[in-house]
């Protein structure tokens, strides 16, 4: 039902990289699960509305007013790398071996 190529494609979409020795295990487990889920096709759902969420469908309004919550310092407390009070990340544009 689900091929190795599909699993690798899905992993890429999900920003996950599987180790070579993990791939086959994931393929067979996901295949089992997707095969199970395929049994849904036996249910007649013609004209049935899907349930995507459980809340009342009414829109919740609130006043548009500014509120102080956390400080900048607090918000930066969990950031792995900070420089000059900013979140530091590696280069976005790859200079060396850009594709």
């Amino acid at each position: 039902m689900i091929s190795k190529e599909e699993v690798l494609h899905v992993a890429e979409l999900a920003n996950l990289k599987l180790k070579d020795n993990e791939v086959d295990g994931f393929v067979s487990q996901l295949d089992d699960i997707v095969t199970m889920a395929s049994q849904l096709s036996t249910v007649d759902t013609e004209g049935v509305e899907p349930t995507y969420h459980m809340s009342d469908t009414t829109t919740v309004f609130r006043a548009d007013e500014g509120k102080h919550t956390q400080t900048r310092e607090e918000l930066l407390e969990n950031v792995p790398e900070v420089q000059d009070n900013l979140i530091k990340v590696p280069s976005i544009v790859d200079k060396e071996d850009g594709e």
Partner: protein, 485 residues
Amino acid sequence: MDYFNETIDLLHKKLADKEITAESLTKDTLQNINDKEAKLNAYVTVNDQATEDAKKVDEKGIEGRLSGIPVAIKDNILTKGVLTTASSKILSNFMPIYDATVTEKLKNAGAINVGKTNLDEFAMGSSTETSYYGTSHNAWDYTKVPGGSSGGSAAAVASGDVIAALGTDTGGSIRQPASFNGIFGIKPTYGRVSRWGVIAFASSLDQVGVMSKRVEDSAEVLTTIAGHDVHDSTSSEKEVPDYRANLNKDMHGVKIAVPKEFWHEGTDPEVLKTVDEAIETYKKLGATVEEVSLPSLKHAVEVYYVIASSEASSNLQRYDGVRYGFRAKDVKNIKELFVNSRSEGFGDEVKRRIMLGTFTLSAGAYDAYFKKAAQVRTIFINELKAVLDKYDLIAGPVTTSTAFGIGEKIDDPLAMYMNDILTIPANLAGLPAASVPAGTVNGLPVGLQLMANSFDEQAIFNAAYALQEENKFYEQIPTALKEED
């Protein structure tokens, strides 16, 4: 100090009469937790600040009924200044800068957070075996799983560590471990309790609930944590009744439905026998019991794993190593930072579900899987509603077996998923549901499941209380602990 013969009522009296202080109670509680941790591994973090917090409660004076009472909180619920990991490597260094609404409500009531309990990573699992911090153990038999995902909370309560603990329930994560550990556990109606500050797994299914040995103590805690929250627009504005004050064990005139599909051949006959006996007790107490049918139950696991995984794949996109949590080293660009942080930070079960959800939401599979599952969900909700239009409660087993062995099912995800078939319905329909101790089979506890109409938690508390007062299961000390004495 343990909580085997305690209730919130008794503890509150002792605190209010100054027979004990919150500080001494918390100290003793922490001592007891630390003594047992080597065997139970119920906690990810024991809260060192708890004694200080208790001191402050003493200084302010004992006020409400939870004032000065130690409780444990599942480690996917944010606690300001106390590590919150969801039992994942990717959050292993995460220090919340705010409290979840439920944490804040407990604190405002004067309750003391003594520790953060272990769970399956991101609550994905039925055994705590997927935790980055190792599996917790069942207090009745250390070689068995405590169930999951709220396995740490269940083990903590069952072993007398605390009077009550918070859990979360997405597909049975409160009720299954409650059943495996011989305690009471309730998943309230979707929207009854705020999810603000609760680490999201599947947002249309997740709900915070309570676990305790005694029904009245969960009723007390749920009354405290329930209610509308401006931070969670899915939380209900319906008034919160005082569940404990309203407890009523009179079962006369209560109408109970038992779905025949719950008496499945795949379920341990001894478990079914124990559940049958509990249902007989209700008849004896004056309830009427009738058989009903839920024909779509056979598709519940399929619906659940498609929907839960789809929502999880979306919710877990936020873990990228940028703003908080684990960040992979030696990366050459931002894309690699995302991919490596996630690949090194998530465990296998979480990856499996993210991939399943990414697949079921992908362009070619969306209609056949995600939309289809959402439609079958509607059909199933209608079946449950039709039953609850005529009955006050639905009763049945919680699990297909008693607690299974550590390592027994972890390599077979599908077998693990099938465990959840009896607890999933309440989540798919947003209904309140609980596990109530019904008896033991070969020395391991069995729970009775009770489901009710939306926002009728009281019906569950009342029936659970009625059974508790008949079987007094709370008097039993878990076997593994007893053997040590």
